[in-house]
């Protein structure tokens, strides 16, 4: 990829000089990522220190990727190494319809939820079940409790665990076998990643959000652009983001292949954590802060790959294809696959447009929608709902559009109701749901019919993601709100905002 300033592309002489220069200082100048890996290394598993046994501080479990891990423990007669380091949350398969959730049999009738309840009970793991007042999407619940702290390693059975990088914690997704490995040993066999620095300098234009930043990055570097890397996001535009915005960025870093995403913790991070119920308090907090303030990449530390983006160039983004990198600014038209230089990419784009039922040259703003979905671990926190409500206030959902809001957690739902945000959505014609992953991956009853098109504040536009044959356009929550009231994709900056407060 020509736009990456990869050291491997320097002429050999320069590369050697650079390596020699850094060699003598390797121990002194370290990236934040390598610091986190170093402090969690129990033992090296190879001579080079690339493969190692990594101590993992915490996990969060869900009902759909954990069952076979617990069965593995049961079959081998193994206990959980440290039950207090795990929290169970039901989020993926539950209905988000209030009437279904209030049914006393909703949980016991479902094989995955029922087995999860039994596993958490038998292995001594705290569980937020369907009826718990703190239930919600795992990556919304963990941060709002204050369980995600700077410097931690958190591995969980969901690819969007990268979200936790917003706090300077190394979060990454693992498969079910590794969930079992973690539960039994508190560790993972881990391969050290390369370091990528992604700087976003300058100031974001008005109406451009964290979601647009990460979508622009994914478009630029590709769906595999950060593969094999841990990405550290830096630069003035990242520092200026709220913690919730930073979570959106780190959450979607996995969509460009990153196996870890980090933002160095700062005073904003510490202020956010100070209010959270399970974060350290008093003397413990004082000791923690001393440690947390040192969690940053040393000046002069070498990155394997560096990418720079100017914030002022970013516009509100939408996807037009079936991979998150098939995206464009809302003012653009659908690109012509025929102009794609690589034959493989041309074929991928042609297939994507065929699936999406779209033609090259169509203005993105002319694409009509059938569904609008505001939710998911990417964009269902308070700020997201406030931003969407500001657009929706005083307007109505367009005729023929089914619009739903699924808050990220019960906590978010309560806060939104206290602010009157639920009323704004309901009056506009949105359904106001109970928390869950819902239409992001359609593992519950929130399924889109074949051929129907959705403006979605989620993270993946894969074929069939929101239901077999469904067509997904990813965008920010405010952009979904704008599409919902317009009936077609639309530049939110063209609608006058009515602030919810």
């Amino acid at each position: 990829m020509q736009f990456l300033h990869n050291t491997a592309r320097f002429p050999p002489a320069i590369q050697t000089a650079r390596c020699v220069f850094f060699w003598g200082f390797m121990a002194a100048f370290t990236t934040l990522y390598d610091k986190l890996v170093d402090r969690h290394t129990v033992r090296s598993l190879d001579a080079e220190g690339r493969e190692l046994l990594l101590y993992v501080d915490r996990t969060v479990l869900n009902e759909y990727t954990s069952p076979q891990a617990f069965t593995g423990l049961r079959d081998a007669g193994r206990p959980v190494f440290r039950p207090a380091s795990a929290l169970g949350v039901i989020d993926h398969v539950n209905s988000t319809r209030p009437e279904r959730i209030s049914s006393p049999d909703a949980q016991s009738d479902d094989i995955q939820m029922a087995y999860f309840v039994r596993n958490c009970r038998d292995f001594g793991i705290e569980l937020f079940d369907l009826y718990h007042r703190q239930q919600g999407i795992e990556h919304v619940v963990m941060p709002e409790l204050g369980l995600v702290l700077p410097g931690l390693v958190i591995a969980a059975g969901d690819s969007h665990t990268t979200t936790y990088g917003a706090f300077g914690a190394l979060g990454f997704g693992i498969g079910t076998s590794d969930i079992e490995h973690f539960l039994a040993t508190q560790t993972l066999v881990y391969r050290r990643l390369r370091n990528m620095k992604l700087s976003v300098s300058g100031t974001l234009p008005t109406g451009v959000t964290a979601k647009d930043v990460i979508m622009a990055i994914i478009r630029k570097i590709g769906a595999d652009g950060a593969q094999g890397h841990a990405v550290e996001f830096t630069g003035s535009a990242i520092s200026a983001l709220s913690i919730e915005g930073r979570m959106t960025i780190c959450n979607m870093a996995v969509e460009c292949g990153a196996r870890g995403a980090l933002i160095a913790p700062d005073e904003k991070t510490f202020a956010y954590l100070a209010e959270k119920p399970r974060a350290p308090k008093g003397d413990a907090l004082k000791a923690a802060l001393e440690d947390w303030r040192a969690l940053r990449t040393d000046d002069g530390a070498a990155f394997d790959t560096c990418v720079e983006i100017n914030a002022s160039d970013i516009e509100p983004m939408v996807t037009w294809g079936t991979s998150p990198d098939q995206a464009a600014p809302i003012s653009d038209s659908i690109p012509d696959p025929g102009l794609e230089a690589s034959p493989a990419r041309r074929k991928d784009a042609e297939r994507a447009l065929g699936y999406m039922g779209l033609l090259p040259g169509t203005r993105l703003q002319d694409i009509r929608i059938d569904h609008a979905f505001i939710g998911s671990c990417t964009n269902a926190r308070m700020e997201d709902l406030r931003a969407a409500a500001a657009v929706v206030k005083g307007r109505k959902v367009a005729v023929g559009v089914d619009a739903i809001v699924v808050p990220g957690s019960r906590e978010v739902r309560r806060m939104a109701e206290a602010e009157g945000i639920d009323r704004i959505f309901r009056e506009a014609g949105f359904e106001w749901r109970e928390p869950g992953c819902s239409m992001c991956l359609a593992m519950n009853d929130d399924v889109i019919a074949p051929g129907k098109r959705c403006a979605s504040s989620t993270n993946r536009n894969f074929e069939g993601r929101q239901g077999a044959g469904s067509r997904t356009h990813l965008m920010s929550p405010a952009m979904v709100a704008a599409a919902a009231v317009s009936g077609h994709l639309c530049d939110v900056r063209k609608l006058e905002a009515h602030h919810a407060n």
């Binding site: 759909y64 069952p67 076979q68 490995h181 595999d224 493989a344 297939r351």
Partner: protein, 201 residues
Amino acid sequence: MPIEPFECVSGFIAALPAANIDTDIIMPKTFLKGIDRSGLEKGLFHDLRFDEQGAPRQEFVLNQSPWANAAFLVTGGNFGCGSSREHAVWGLRQFGIRAIIAPSFAGIFFDNCARNGLLAIEAENETVRMLTEQAASGTKITIDLETQTIETEHGAAGFEISERRKFMLQKGLDAVGMTLQWRNEIEAFQTRYLGARAWLA
């Protein structure tokens, strides 16, 4: 579930020459409702293999002879991106796939392969091209893990794999059991680590 050791395997190879084949495509959500690992063979590439009525789509390579019996896949880059669902790997193994050759794999998927005895080979573009051509001819190839070679009618290619991953695949080892050998070391680490961080204790 016992892991079948991988030593030297011969079989047909099918080509899926697209980039970014995600785990939603490999194993659609309809097949993720269970609590065990069984029955996933049917879900593998379901929407590509079967039409809305459940009839096989004849144009899809894994529905054609001899690739319906493929032991290997050669694919485009970033294979297995998206969701962490290990069901994708279980389904591939249950279908009979023993190894996948691609220019690159998504990280979680790559690790999931190693945990289930599925050999994921990150190969040079030249090797991928050669195998894609070979796949079209419908002849068998052989993958020898010990010598790290892929042999075809038209020549052979080497591949890289970490020593540890190779050893585990060859022996079909249970990773948890191996790690628990170091239980005392992990406990000592934890005591030291938490002792230095009162806010985590």
